[in-house]
Amino acid sequence: MAKTYDYLFKLLLIGDSGVGKTSILFRFSEDAFNISFISTIGIDFKIRTIDLDGKKVKLQIWDTAGQERFRTITTAYYRGSMGIMLVYDVTNEKSFENIKNWIRNIEENASADVEKMILGNKCDLEAKRQVSKERGEQLAVEYQIKFIETSAKDSLNVESAFYTLARDIKAKMEKKQEASNPAGARSGAHQIRANEQQRKPTSWLSRCSLL
């Protein structure tokens, strides 16, 4: 089958149950919002292909169950992810506090160079807000992760969040490519898949340590 994209990025949405992971994904992939969403059981995914600086980037976005009980199942999907969205609900203090636990989860299960982003969702519900934007920003600074407040319902910042994450992954990937193969990077070899990137030759330094 001929590839219709230049890059394939695998992304993951994690966060407490009910923070709006599925709604965010639905807003991004279908540009719609549905009040009667059903709980996500286990894991599911959606696809959207976007255009980034003239390149077709296919985003394969995995949506996970938020309940602790499914943790062993969902963490198996961390490994192949190149970008992870950590979602909390600005009207739910606990979901914000748990972001730290989710970050620990990433550190234990995901690839070290995975791109991360924190999303404070439901920012349209100003009257019910429990977590201020400043606290979100502070947490993001603490972990040196990008942060944005979103509203899947009002379609606020969802698009830009995914574009930002995708752009960061793309930049990192191209930098790596250039580092490992400065000549090839400009030769028009653009058909890169996630797995190829993972199977990058071992670095000169690690070879050196074998000496």
């Binding site: 009910g18 059903i38 059981i41 696809i47 499914f70 199942i73 550190e107 160079d113 330094l205 070879r207």
Partner: protein, 457 residues
């Protein structure tokens, strides 16, 4: 109503995206049935589908038989009810189901007690999670149901779930349990559904009990039985699934909810429940296998990729011939008893474990390499070295050149080797300072370890 419309939109849009092709949801419920819901205390009166105009003569005959049996309850044994439930069209209508489901699992009138109020239960630790899921179960209610009645039913659902997990505190609520609970509630009402759900959740052979353990591991184990069943029936199909490493997760919500979460047609859900209520606990896994076997051609036509296959299989078409699928599942069960499959499942899990171990090792190696790569001054220098010098063949050349250069240097500056002061502090301090300077900002707190690690090597 709205939700249904949006659902079919999902299908179309997803299709237009070209990669993910779920079956578009049909408007499966008759919207105009609010008239059936007059009294909230009898939720079993809810109707999802209009009676079909054409009625199969066989089914018509079966109805008569069931009615006769219901008139002579004392004369009918369990086996007879099971035959009805398993046979073609199952128990046919919710009017029969309401009376027969409790009989299938041996619930007595005395057990059907008045439920407590929601306020009494709201302090339970799982209360919030249950309410979250119940609030997101709108799809399961009859479309067009008046708001007040729906809210009352949702409260009944919350009470029902909390009652069970309070009665058996060692059982853990899972997302999906609410899908089973609501099916029982809609058919049998709040009094009968409590002992029914208890029977399904607790006791030896209780089908939902493995899902309610501390982890999902027992569930994953049981779901693994699907693969050898498929393999024995269609080796080529099993190989295809194995090659794509699609696993069993696409079927997880089917098994956890007895398909209640994943099917759009209410009549399909209750038909399956007729059967499952009197089948062995592992039977839903055989139904899963039968569905995958039925869709073999779709699998063969799909790109052999984990995500694509997961996407294809996890979305159940609306027109699955469940009567045939149940017959297939029954045959599969008779031909491949779970005890016969144990060795194959164990082998499969050993392989998975081995794969997981290898993946983890690879991940660790990569993490270590990345850290070294990012933190080492050599990594930067490396970029300045011409590509020709970076090939594996140049390793020896580099080493030899370095040795010669060092030799020359020592020759001219013997003091550096024989007369230096505190050499161990001056030497490494240069790279360490540089390491700090080029440390990428997004790297986490474990940098220090990486530094030590790279120096050690």
């Amino acid at each position: 109503m709205e939700s249904n419309k949006t659902d079919s939109d999902i299908g179309d849009k997803c299709n237009s995206n070209g990669d993910c092709s779920p079956t578009p949801n049909k408007q499966s419920f008759d919207i105009n049935n609010a008239k059936n819901i007059d009294d909230i205390s009898t939720p079993s009166e809810l109707k999802f589908d209009e009676e079909p105009d054409y009625e199969d003569p066989e089914v018509k005959e079966k109805k008569k038989e069931i009615e006769k049996c219901l008139e002579n309850l004392d004369w009918v044994n369990l086996e007879q009810w099971q035959d009805f439930a398993k046979g073609k069209a199952g128990l046919i209508s919710d009017d029969y189901r309401r009376k027969i489901w409790p009989l299938l699992v041996g619930v007595t009138q005395e057990e059907m007690t008045e439920p407590p109020s929601l306020d009494e239960l709201s302090t339970h630790i799982e209360y919030n999670q249950v309410v979250l899921d119940v609030n997101r179960s709108l799809k399961r209610f009859p479309p067009g149901i008046p708001y007040e009645q729906r809210v009352a039913l949702q409260d009944q659902l919350t009470v029902l779930i909390l009652r069970v997990i309070m009665k058996y505190p060692h059982l853990k609520y899972y997302q999906g349990y609410h899908d089973v609970a609501i099916t029982l509630l809609l058919v049998c009402g709040d009094r009968a559904s409590f002992p029914l759900l208890c029977r399904l959740s607790y006791g030896p052979g209780a089908p939902l009990a493995p899902f309610m353990q501390t982890t999902m591991q027992p569930t994953q184990h049981l779901l693994n039985y699907m693969l050898p069943v498929i393999s024995r029936a269609d080796r080529k199909l099993a190989e295809c699934l194995d090659k794509a490493q699609v696993g069993t997760m696409f079927a997880l919500p089917w098994y956890l909810t007895w398909f209640g979460h994943s099917l759009n047609k209410y009549t399909d859900v209750v038909r399956l429940y007729d059967y499952f209520l009197c089948a062995p606990p592992l039977f839903p896994v055989y139904v899963t296998a039968a569905i995958v076997l039925y869709r073999a051609d779709e699998v063969f036509n799909c790109e052999c990729d984990m995500a694509m296959l997961h996407c294809l299989l996890s979305r159940l078409p609306d027109d699955l011939p469940f009567e045939d699928i149940l017959v297939t599942a029954k045959r599969l069960y008779e031909d491949n008893d779970p005890t016969d499959l144990e060795a194959e499942v164990a082998a499969l899990e050993r392989r998975e474990e081995e794969q997981r171990r290898l993946d983890e090792e690879r991940l660790k190696r990569r993490q270590l390499a990345n850290r070294r790569n990012a933190s080492s001054v050599a990594a930067r220098l490396r970029r300045c070295v011409p590509a020709a010098l970076r090939g594996p063949w140049s390793r020896r050349a580099c080493l030899a050149t370095a040795t010669v250069l060092l030799g020359i240097y020592v020759y001219y500056r013997p003091d550096i080797l024989f007369n230096r002061t505190r050499p161990e502090r001056t030497a490494p301090s240069v790279p360490r300072a540089s390491q700090r300077a080029i440390r990428p900002p997004q790297m986490g707190p474990s940098r220090a370890d990486a530094d030590t690690e790279s120096r050690r090597t």
